[in-house]
Structures are given as structure tokens and as C-alpha cells.
């Protein structure tokens, strides 16, 4: 992965911590992709990644000068992202409690035929990438984060370890286990609902034609 998508050098980071606005902009641009991944790993389904990124950007501006060591920057930024995602989760829970939902399809919403809550039924879940992403988001947190970060091509075990504040060997093991868990979840998911298998076969046939 290029430098611009993973991190910045310590000199730029130090300048940003001391109030250099251009350096801060460079720091944000270098890290915002993996911040988006952290948000996607933790946000509630309804929350918008763009909104949460803006919240993280504001916190970055407000608080970066409080950091003492540049080495602590990545774990700190991850914590900011986690907090933003969790705050969105709390407000989503509160809204759900009081919001009347109008059903989209009056035929399906007749008594006894209410649509079930299933991530695969979402419009974007028709494509397999969305389905795998939904399944990955259901993995335990300790596997979900490194696996998704690794999916940003080229982010090394070491770089992921810097963000999560864990040794490389732990990161490697978690990614490997996460992949197996995801593979098994995808197999179980396909077995559970043959619609997916048939639709995937159809898609593959269509794309290869």
C-alpha cells in the first residue's frame, strides 16, 4: 500500500501535533481510509460512514495537540473512531425505540407475512461482496478488525499491529482465524438459505457470459 493510504512519517505527524495545519491535513488524508474501515467494523448498520468520518475529523482537529508521543497516534485515532461508532450505536438504539417504521411493501406487511430482519435481504446484499461484508461484521471484534484492515490491500501485519497496539504474530494469527471463520460462516449461510446459492450461480453464469 502506498504511504498515502497507510500512514505518515513521524516528522509530519509531529508537525501536525504542534499545530501545522497542512501537516494535519496530510495526516488525515493518509489515515482516513483505515479509519473508515474501523468505522465499518463497528458502526450500526444504519449509521453513515461519511457522517462518522466527519465526526472523527473534528475530534482530530480538536484533540491532536493533546497527544504526547507520535507513536501513540494510531491507537488514539482508532479509539476516536471507536467512540464515534459507539456513540452512533447508542443514538440509533434510542431512535429505534421511538420511531414508527412505515413498511415499504404493503403486500408483504400483511399480518403473518412481515419481512424478516436479515442482512441478506438488504438491497445491496444482493451482491456477494455485501453479503461477505455483512458476515465479516458479525465476527468477534478481535478478528473482525484486523481482517477488514488487511483487506485494504497492502496494509501489512506490522501496520495493523501499530493501529491495534498488538504484536505482528497476534495480528497474523487473528487474520488467519478470521478468514477461516468467515469462510465457514459463508458456507453455513449458503447452506441455510439456498436462494443465495442459486442467485450466486446465476450471477456467476451471467458474469462469465
Amino acid at each position: 500500500m502506498s504511504e498515502s493510504t497507510v500512514g505518515t512519517d513521524l516528522r509530519t505527524l509531529s508537525a501536525a501535533m504542534q499545530g501545522d495545519r497542512e501537516a494535519l491535513q496530510a495526516v488525515w488524508r493518509a489515515h482516513r481510509r483505515w479509519v473508515a474501515v474501523i468505522l465499518m467494523a463497528h458502526k450500526p448498520r444504519e449509521a453513515d460512514v461519511e457522517d462518522l468520518l466527519q465526526a472523527v475529523a473534528v475530534q482530530l482537529c480538536r484533540k491532536i495537540h493533546e497527544l504526547r508521543e507520535p507513536e501513540a497516534f494510531k491507537p488514539w485515532l482508532r479509539t476516536v473512531a471507536l467512540n464515534a461508532a459507539r456513540a452512533a450505536g447508542r443514538s440509533t438504539t434510542r431512535r429505534k425505540r421511538h420511531t414508527l417504521r412505515l413498511s415499504r411493501d404493503p403486500v408483504l406487511s400483511a399480518p403473518g407475512t412481515a419481512p424478516r430482519e436479515d442482512p441478506r435481504d438488504a438491497t445491496d446484499a444482493r451482491d456477494e461482496g455485501a453479503r461477505l461484508l455483512a458476515l465479516a461484521r458479525e465476527l468477534p471484534e478481535s478478528y473482525r478488525e484486523p481482517l477488514l484492515m488487511r483487506c485494504l490491500h497492502g496494509m501489512s501485519y506490522r501496520q495493523i499491529g501499530e493501529v491495534l497496539d498488538l504484536p505482528e504474530t497476534t495480528i497474523e494469527t487473528r487474520i488467519a482465524r478470521g478468514r477461516r471463520m468467515l469462510r465457514q460462516a459463508a458456507e453455513a449461510d449458503t447452506t441455510r438459505d439456498p436462494r443465495d446459492a442459486s442467485s450466486r450461480t446465476h450471477r456467476q453464469a451471467r458474469s462469465s457470459s
Binding site: 473508515a36 461519511e50 473534528v58 404493503p106
Partner: protein
């Protein structure tokens, strides 16, 4: 030459596949993999499926994380950090944007507190000429008249917060949507969906008497 399939623990097995998928496998890793595969052909399929899953997931994630490239730091911070910091401080009194939104949602949960409207309870029920009514009084009249005629069901208790803008005096200007549930008799109900080409199509909804759709 006959290779002996090495005994790998599940973790070692997972790591081996993972390294190959990541392009991090060494020559020794490949030797181990070939040895394992010589005793169990199914491991090839396992590797293939792991690679395919990783590729599909990567594509999906990269497409969705691309939105990050459009989110920059607040423009006014870059041009006038001192002023922006003052605004942040004002927001800070509410515990940040997210907390401010959450507080407002809780505050609105029971509906607009009576004390915050122009009209008291007694006034709300009475009819005031619209030309001299305040917006809140006019709104109350609309609600009462609509409920009496059956065209208004109720107002949902939680307005949707659109924005919360801190002002220099420390107050916050909120913009929100009041949600009114109305009822109307119509001749037809249509649903919208998409055809196989993704084009929006409108079709009449088949609602039978007794099948109480949620509309």
C-alpha cells in the same frame, strides 16, 4: 520422492493458507503446503475458496471505504483555526456533536415540552384567527382540526434532528423535522420497485380488504 504430510495444528494450517493468500508465503511455506496437499487434495479447494473470499471482500471493502477520500478536515479549521476552536469549545459544552444530537433526541422524546411553545394548554384548544395566531398556535389548530376530521393521526414523539449549530453566545440553533402522521382515503396504492435493468417501475399494490397493510 514421497513427501510426508506434516501434522499442522489448526492455527498453523490457517496461518499457512493466510500467508499464501496475502502473498507473504516463503519457500518453506510453499514446501509445507505442497506436502500437506499431497496427502489431502481438499486443501487446494480450501485455498481457492479462501483466496476467492478474500478477493471479493477486499473489493467490497475498498469500494465502500472510498468515501473516505471525499471527507476532509473542516474547511473553516484550515482557514481560521482560532474561530473554529471557539466553535469546538461551544460544542464541547454539549459533549461534542454526537452527544449534542443524543441529548436533543432524549429531550424531544416526550414531544415538545409545553413550556417551550407559545400557547398554553388552554389556548391550544381554542380557535384563534390564523392571521393573529403564532406558528405554534396555528400548528395546534391544524392538529386538532385534523384529528377531529380523522385526517391527522398524531405527531410522532421524536422530531428528526437535521443540524445543531452552535452560536457564538453559547446557545445552539437546532433544525429538525416534525413528523406528522396523516390519513387519507385514496382510490389506488402503488408500490415502486426496480426491474431487471435497475429501472424504477411503479405497480398497483394488491391490497385485499382485511389484509391491513401498515399504511
Amino acid at each position: 520422492m514421497t513427501r510426508h504430510a506434516p501434522e499442522l495444528t489448526p492455527d498453523e494450517h490457517d496461518r499457512l493458507l493466510s500467508r499464501i493468500v496475502d502473498g507473504e508465503a516463503t519457500g518453506a511455506d510453499w514446501d509445507t503446503f505442497r506436502a500437506v496437499a499431497s496427502g489431502d487434495q481438499a486443501v487446494w479447494a480450501e485455498l481457492s475458496e479462501t483466496q476467492r473470499t478474500a478477493g471479493v471482500l477486499s473489493d467490497a471493502l475498498r469500494a465502500r471505504s472510498a468515501i473516505a477520500d471525499t471527507v476532509d478536515l473542516p474547511e473553516d479549521f484550515l482557514h481560521d483555526p482560532a474561530r473554529t476552536q471557539r466553535r469546538f469549545d461551544a460544542i464541547g459544552r454539549w459533549g461534542g456533536w454526537a452527544a449534542a444530537a443524543a441529548i436533543l433526541l432524549v429531550w424531544f422524546t416526550g414531544g415538545i415540552p409545553a413550556g417551550l411553545t407559545d400557547a398554553g394548554p388552554a389556548q391550544r384548544a381554542s380557535l384563534i384567527p390564523l392571521s393573529s395566531a403564532s406558528p405554534e398556535q396555528a400548528f395546534d389548530q391544524y392538529m386538532h382540526a385534523g384529528q377531529a376530521r380523522g385526517s391527522v393521526v398524531d405527531e410522532l414523539p421524536n422530531p428528526v434532528l437535521v443540524s445543531a449549530e452552535p452560536l457564538n453566545d453559547g446557545t445552539v440553533r437546532v433544525t429538525f423535522i416534525r413528523q406528522i402522521v396523516e390519513r387519507k382515503i385514496v382510490n389506488e396504492v402503488y408500490t415502486t420497485s426496480h426491474d431487471e435493468l435497475g429501472q424504477p417501475v411503479t405497480t398497483p399494490a394488491r391490497l385485499e380488504p382485511g389484509s391491513t397493510g401498515s399504511y
